[in-house]
């Protein structure tokens, strides 16, 4: 009898459980829609990564030891030649190898020959070019940017002018890169002072020095012009990020140092910079991520799609100034060049190999900056 009065408490007859009414269903539907939006973005990202990864990895690895396609990292891009012989066999080699092959096989008839720019060989030239551009850019941008940030946060007050300047810098951080590219193109490529032996007609101003002239006629499309353009582009980002990390150091630290009799510089050196350093580091890695991924400024101010010499070889052969004012290949511009062959099977390995390497590089830097940032957030709880 007792049992029939108190039935066992199975979930189905829990007296406190609410019935799922229309409102609950509506709520679940709404939440699931929002969840769907989130996972669509994640799915797109996964699709892109996996597609590039699956199609790009075969270019980078080999089946034999050392399992890495070393040629891809030790050669520069070359013209890829694809042809058939009369028996219908297909050949694809770099143009140089093709020329040798023709000499070695004079009897085989070559038909249906096609050339593809920058699709053979490897990506050493562009990799080096990008590394150099990023190095020059970061050297300039960090030097100016960090000092400017220190000045803005430690020395000058919060007057009207200063807050206006801060606002201007913040706004300039959002200006499209192509506008910076246009600026760098006009200023660094055609107006900056250069050491020349003969003055060009477009020179703005010139004076003689030693055997040649210093002429304000620009560096043309060069490593230096590209580096400077990128530096100016990333300057607002670095200043803003560095200033933020300097401001995050509690006021008490500075006050304590002042109370001990330190001068302002001593305070900055001993009580502010050491604690802001991880933040500055994060800012610089963030800057590298932004700069390395940019294409438009490089395209206008520095890039050469085809170059026989490596930048380092120019340094060895022609001296430092020629090294700085040479045009370089860069990985993003190399990828842009490859985009001109959307349907060719022969160019695919180079396309996917290049974008995989580029993606991994930029993503790597981005990952470092994210890890650094989260570590700082965890550690600095003062």
């Amino acid at each position: 009898m007792r049992e029939s009065i108190n039935p066992p408490l199975t979930p189905s007859c829990n007296p406190f459980q609410k019935k799922k009414g229309w409102f609950q269903r509506k709520e679940m539907l709404g939440i699931n829609l929002l969840r769907l939006a989130t996972y669509i973005i994640i799915a797109c990202a996964l699709f892109i990564f996996s597609d590039i990864f699956i199609k790009g990895v075969p270019t980078l690895v080999k089946s034999e030891a050392p399992f890495i396609n070393t040629e891809f990292f030790t050669e520069s891009p070359q013209i890829l030649t694809v042809w058939h012989d009369s028996a219908g066999n297909e050949y694809s080699m770099t143009q140089e190898k093709h020329d040798i092959w023709v000499i070695e096989n004079p009897t085989i008839e070559v038909i249906d020959i096609h050339n593809y720019t920058a699709s053979g060989g490897g990506i050493l030239g562009p990799l080096l070019g990008t590394a150099l551009l990023v190095t020059i850019c970061m050297a300039i941008a960090l030097f100016i940017g960090v000092s400017a940030a220190i000045y803005l946060s430690e020395y000058c007050g919060t007057g009207k002018l200063m807050s206006l300047i801060r606002l201007a810098i913040l706004n300039l951080a959002g200006v499209p890169s192509i506008v910076y590219a246009l600026f760098g193109w006009g200023v660094f490529c055609y107006m900056a002072p250069n050491y020349v032996t003969e003055i060009s007609d477009r020179s703005l101003f010139a004076f003689s020095i030693g055997g040649g002239y210093i002429s304000f006629e620009g560096w043309e499309q060069s490593l230096l012009a590209g580096g400077c353009t990128l530096a100016i582009m990333v300057l607002p980002v670095i200043i803003t990020a560095c200033e933020e990390s300097l401001r995050a150091v509690p006021k008490g630290f500075r006050e304590a140092a002042f109370a001990l009799g330190a001068t302002r510089w001593q305070t900055i050196r001993t009580a502010v910079l050491p604690y802001a350093l991880p933040g500055v580091l994060t800012a610089s890695v963030l800057g590298i991520t932004r700069v390395a991924g940019e294409t438009a400024p490089i395209m206008l101010t520095a890039a050469a799609s085809d170059k026989s010499k490596l930048p380092t070889e120019v340094l060895a052969d022609e001296g430092f100034w020629s090294f700085l004012t040479q045009s370089v290949q860069a990985l993003p511009f190399h990828i842009y060049t490859l985009a001109k062959f959307p349907d060719s099977e022969y160019v695919k390995p180079m396309q996917y190999g290049s974008i995989l390497v580029f993606l991994l590089l930029v993503m790597g830097f981005s990952l470092i900056s994210m890890v650094l940032r989260s570590r700082i957030r965890k550690r600095n709880k003062w």
Partner: protein
């Protein structure tokens, strides 16, 4: 306490120096060297160094604004000269008349497309023979060019006859070696309605192709006969069409005559301008060299260059040269009237009752409709041409108007360069709008979900992953779009049960929709991060109050939290928009780069068209721009517009975000 005067510091120093603790102090200080009130000690130098760099950075950033303005502002007077030359030489007039000929051509094209449809329907197989033959002809030409040439160079005689047999066999072998599919695919593209082309057709076509090479590159009689046969059966329709085509003959001749005259004058004016420009550059170059001090030889060389440049300047009397144009213009009214009447007559001659295909019927209806719309354009043009004067003044305002409201961007042609930013601006805006349509629901939805509904672990994974997307370089995304998404989108757009989606099927491979989708993906992390921040800033009490009133979580989110953070979310969306409109590489690679106005009459199909953008034009035309040229200044003008747009958006967003923080 922060010591703020040196006096203060030194007093304090004396105090601390006396104590024992301070002698072990970390901070040793020397009194700074002071000259003329400036501190030249370590502290002062350090401050000067930092301050110098800060002001250098600020100067650089200020310089950007000034430089952009300076380079862009020169465009206005230069463009005015360009437009003035176009007016003085009569090109402007020629363009107005070209509108009429283009209108006629458009109507005729619609009619002839209908005609071709009708023809295909009735004579598909015969036409296939012609097309296969044409394909074979091209292939034979490619593969056996040398041999055909050698054959044609032979003298008539038995030798040639023997060679003909050999050549025939070779062409036969070559054309049979080509896989039938390869041959027929292009033909099928041309004749969509044709399902299968028979062996017979193929053999016939191969036969004709042999004939072609042997007959000295002339179309074989049989092919001509097929054409004739088709035409005779389509008789009346064809005749009516020819009548339509011929109706514009006079107008075309008139336009041609005016165009030639105008182009000749314009060319002279342009050359003069270039010569003047180069004299100017050479002279300033010489002055610079003389200032620096250089050899007399060099100076003499340069002077000679200047003289040669000067000698190329020819005086052009535009008033005299324009007279024939005015003479021709008198005939225009009558000519265009005849054209219209004849075109109407031609269309009415089409035997509508005997037309079989719906496409052809539609084409006639459409042509009639367009003809009615053509009338006001013609009378308007008449009015404009009546008042047109070649020496009418152009103001600076006209040149600005032509830039901001001009609907054609065309540079690098032999005619006048046209810098109308409207097609580029519309293209940029269209792509951004499409991108925002995708990005706003996805990114804001994701922000709401992650902030309100995801549990801590889920959010810990989702948030960095979405932020990580930001690091994908745009050129990678662009190339991925070209390689993968373009094909995918095109295939999807052709799926039958998806045809209800506006814009499907998509005509061009590279189009607005593709660029929009990729940019939406790019803008999502920006919008997500900022919107999530905005949601985070809503005080907890709001949500608690709402829950206490009995609202469920979704109601609380949508009716309390989202409205409270709406301004922040709007700022996030605007910043995302700013990022999208300034993006270069993706649009350069996937938007198709056709510098023409998007055709909005197509309705939603407009998202399937190719467009050009403001960012894209700078990246694609910088190669041709010489420093100081009008194209260079035009590009800077576009850059300035972009700069202003992004500054406006950014400062608005900063204001909103700052207000929220306060």
């Amino acid at each position: 306490m922060v010591p703020n005067t040196d006096k203060h510091k030194s007093a304090k120093l004396k105090q601390t120096a006396s104590s024992e603790v301070a002698s072990k102090s970390l901070f040793k200080r020397k009194r700074g060297l002071r000259i003329m009130g400036l501190n030249f000690g370590t502290d002062g130098l350090v401050k000067g160094f930092f301050g110098g760099n800060a002001y250098l950075a600020i100067l650089f950033l200020l310089f950007i604004c000034l430089f952009l303005w300076k380079s862009a502002i020169g465009f206005v007077p230069h463009y005015r000269t360009e437009l003035k030359d176009a007016r003085r030489s009569g090109i402007e007039l020629s363009n107005i008349i070209a509108d009429e000929t283009k209108g006629h051509q458009g109507i005729y094209n619609i009619l002839s497309t209908g005609f071709v449809h009708e023809k295909r329907h009735s004579f598909g197989q015969q036409e296939a023979v012609i097309y296969v033959y044409e394909e074979l002809e091209a292939l034979a030409d490619d593969a056996l060019e040398d041999e055909i040439d050698a054959y044609l160079n032979l003298d008539d005689g038995p030798e040639k006859a023997a060679a003909a047999v050999g050549l025939k066999a070779k062409i036969d072998a070559a054309s049979r070696a080509i896989p039938a599919a390869e041959l027929l695919d292009p033909v099928k593209l041309r004749i969509e309605s044709l399902e299968n082309i028979s062996e017979e057709v193929l053999a016939q076509a191969i036969g004709y192709a042999q004939q072609y090479a042997l007959d000295d590159y002339t179309t074989p009689a049989a092919i001509a006969a097929i054409n004739k046969d088709i035409n005779s059966q389509m008789g009346d329709y064809g005749k009516a069409l020819n009548h339509c085509k011929a109706s514009a003959k006079d107008l075309n001749t008139l336009h041609e005559a005016i165009e030639q005259n105008a182009l000749a004058t314009f060319d002279l004016l342009k050359k003069n301008r270039e010569a003047e420009e180069s004299v100017k550059t050479l002279t300033t170059g010489l002055e610079k060299i003389q200032k620096v001090g250089t050899s007399a030889e060099e100076v003499a060389k340069r002077k000679k260059q200047i003289n040669t440049a000067e000698s190329t300047i020819i005086k052009v009397d535009t008033n005299a040269r324009i007279l024939p144009v005015y003479a021709l213009l008198k005939k225009h009214d009558a000519t265009v009237g005849t054209m219209k009447e004849e075109l109407r007559a031609g269309i009415s001659m089409i035997p509508v009752e005997s037309i079989v295909t719906q496409e052809a019927k539609d084409s006639v209806t459409l042509a009639n409709k367009l003809l009615v719309e053509f009338d006001p354009i013609i009378s308007e043009n008449r009015e404009i041409l009546k008042n047109w004067r070649h020496d009418e003044e152009l103001t600076t305002f006209d040149s600005l108007k032509a830039f901001f409201f001009g609907s054609v961007w065309n540079t690098g042609s032999s005619r006048q360069s046209l810098f109308g930013i409207l097609p580029l601006f519309t293209g940029s805006l269209l792509i951004s709008a499409v991108a925002m349509c995708f990005a706003i629901p996805l990114a804001v939805g994701a922000a709401i979900y992650v902030n309100q509904f995801a549990n801590k672990r889920e959010a810990g994974i989702l948030k960095p992953t979405i932020e990580f997307i930001q690091a994908i370089p745009s050129v990678v995304l662009g190339l991925f779009g070209v390689l993968v998404v373009a094909g995918l989108l095109k295939d999807i757009s052709q799926v039958a049960w998806l045809q209800w989606i506006p814009g499907f099927p998509i005509a061009d491979r590279l189009n607005v929709l593709l660029a929009g989708i990729l940019l939406a993906f790019m803008a999502s992390p920006t919008i997500f991060t900022l919107a999530e921040d905005a949601l985070n800033n809503v005080p907890k009490a709001h949500a608690e109050a709402s829950l206490a009133m009995g609202a469920n979580k979704l109601q609380t989110t949508l009716k309390v939290i989202v409205p409270a953070s709406l301004s922040g979310i709007i700022a996030a969306v605007m910043l995302g928009f700013g990022r999208v409109i300034g993006e270069t590489m993706v649009v350069l690679l996937v938007a198709g780069n056709m510098a023409k106005m998007p055709d909005f009459t197509a309705g939603f199909d407009v998202i399937g068209q190719s467009v050009h953008t403001m960012t894209g034009i700078i990246a694609s035309e910088n190669g041709e721009a010489v420093p100081g040229s009008i194209l260079w200044e035009g590009l800077f003008m576009v850059g300035l517009v972009l700069f202003m747009i992004s500054l406006t958006i950014n400062s608005l967003c900063q204001r909103i975000i700052n207000r929220n923080k306060a």
